[in-house]
């Protein structure tokens, strides 16, 4: 069963394509890692699915529904929820308010908040603190909780461990892995710590210069002798 499907997808920011004809699929409960060198177009690909970058060609569907004509807000409501790398919480709002606004238009906000705090119990102690005053790791958890408030079908996660300590890197990726399984959530993750991401992901795609140069089982890909070369861009 396919959740998210990209066929020959091209995308950019208006000054020429950065992503050149990418094909892949994400299934429910599956965690897919996007790895590749800096400037490969990984974040642009995520943003194009979220509607932040412009899709210039190809098809993009979620549960068979065409996402391309939808605004970023409409895509989030359709279930394609983006978790940006930075500035991903409303700093002047309380954590509880961050969660509430992230379920805009929903009648069952209290119930959703309960569900999300049950999935991420570490949030409970700082629900009434201002998000801007939290540590980097706590903020990333809040950002993840905000994304979950929209009850996503597919979660688009852009470098969730940027700036976190090595201990927290593993913790955050483990949480994502568990979420994918527990909520039958498709997760597409761009992660700077490629080895750690591949250890948790089901499948991986290596993106170089906006093109998928290798795809397959994350575990198999991590064992390939030229993986380091691919990740650092020497095989392009």
């Amino acid at each position: 069963m396919t959740l998210l499907r990209l066929q020959n997808l091209r995308a950019g920011y208006g000054g020429g394509d950065i992503v050149h004809g990418v094909d892949f699929e994400v299934a429910p409960g599956e965690m897919v890692a996007l790895v590749g060198p800096n400037g490969a177009g990984k974040s642009t690909l995520l943003k194009s699915i979220a509607g932040v970058a412009k899709v210039t060609g190809g098809t993009l569907t979620l549960d068979g529904r065409d996402l391309a004509p939808l605004s970023p807000a409409a895509r989030a409501q359709a279930g394609a929820v983006f978790m940006p790398q930075d500035r991903n919480v409303f700093r002047t709002l309380l954590v509880s308010e961050n969660l509430s606004v992230s379920a805009w238009g929903c009648k069952d906000i209290a119930q959703r908040r309960e569900e999300v705090t049950a999935l991420l119990p570490t949030l409970r102690p700082y629900m009434h603190k201002r998000a801007g005053g939290l540590s980097g790791g706590q903020r990333q958890m809040v950002a993840l909780a905000m994304a979950l408030m929209a009850r996503p079908r597919v979660l688009l996660v852009d470098e969730p461990t940027a700036g976190l300590s090595p201990l927290l890197v593993g913790e955050m990726l483990d949480v994502l892995r568990q979420l994918a399984a527990a909520a039958a959530l498709g997760i597409l993750i761009v992660e700077q710590n490629a080895r750690a991401a591949l250890e948790r992901a089901d499948r991986a795609l290596v993106l170089v210069d906006g093109r998928v140069v290798r795809a397959g089982s994350a575990a198999v890909l991590a064992q390939e002798p030229d993986f380091g070369a691919l990740f650092f861009g020497e095989a392009a």
Partner: protein
Amino acid sequence: MQMFINALATAAILAPAAVAFTLIFTLFRYANFAAGGFVTVGAFAAWTLNAPLGLPLWAGGVGAMGVCAGAVALSDRVVFRPLRGRSGGTLLLVSIALSFVIENIVRFCFGAQVKGFDLPLTGPLMFAGLRVPKETLAVIAISLVATLAVGALLTFTPIGRALRAVADNPSLANVRGLPVPGVEAFGVIVAGALFGLSGTLVGVDLAIDPNLNWAIAIPVIAAAIVGGLGSPLGAAIGAVVIGLAEELTAAHFTPTYKGAVGFVVIALVLLLRPQGLLGIAVDRK
């Protein structure tokens, strides 16, 4: 004590407009110097409904809030929205130009005569040796209720939280599924209604003067800066500070210098506490 009541009356007039000013600044990151122009529009709209058209003042005030909400929304659509993304300085200059346009439209429509509401004459209330006009009490009460209502709206309602979220980070709000243009439009309408309320209160406590524009704009902006731009509660507290400063100046120096109080307070705040009383200090990028 009498001076404190006078200061509260001044603060009551300034507070709704200062909250409106800070709301626009928080949403769009520019200082809208047309604030005084919008307050003047509110005052004349309330007067038109009350004196020539014979409606009760409360209806005139509600009408003025509606007219001002429309005027601010129109100015946002026609003047400011096409310039979104330009620097705060550019938008500030544009707002100054807009304030002159509004001032001259008001003069063209209503002439240069000072107007007054059609209100029955009432004696002041006397207690503890103080003379407090009933209108002044009404102005203070209405302003307090309006300011608290806006505070409650921003804190306790979904649309208020959405407004604060959009003001904090519009691009994140967009990907979180918030209807950013709709929320911004709501903020503009609330700000416009508050300008209209200030205009009505000016007319009740003072007079409806076509030259009101800059006389009210400077203390309104000073109140917002003193309170900390971006903080509606701070703007209300800033209005009390400006009201007190104006009354102290009038009592201990001369009322002539009352108009300069706003400039002096802005200068002091920028020197001593640039983020204002309740504002949050941010690093310059």
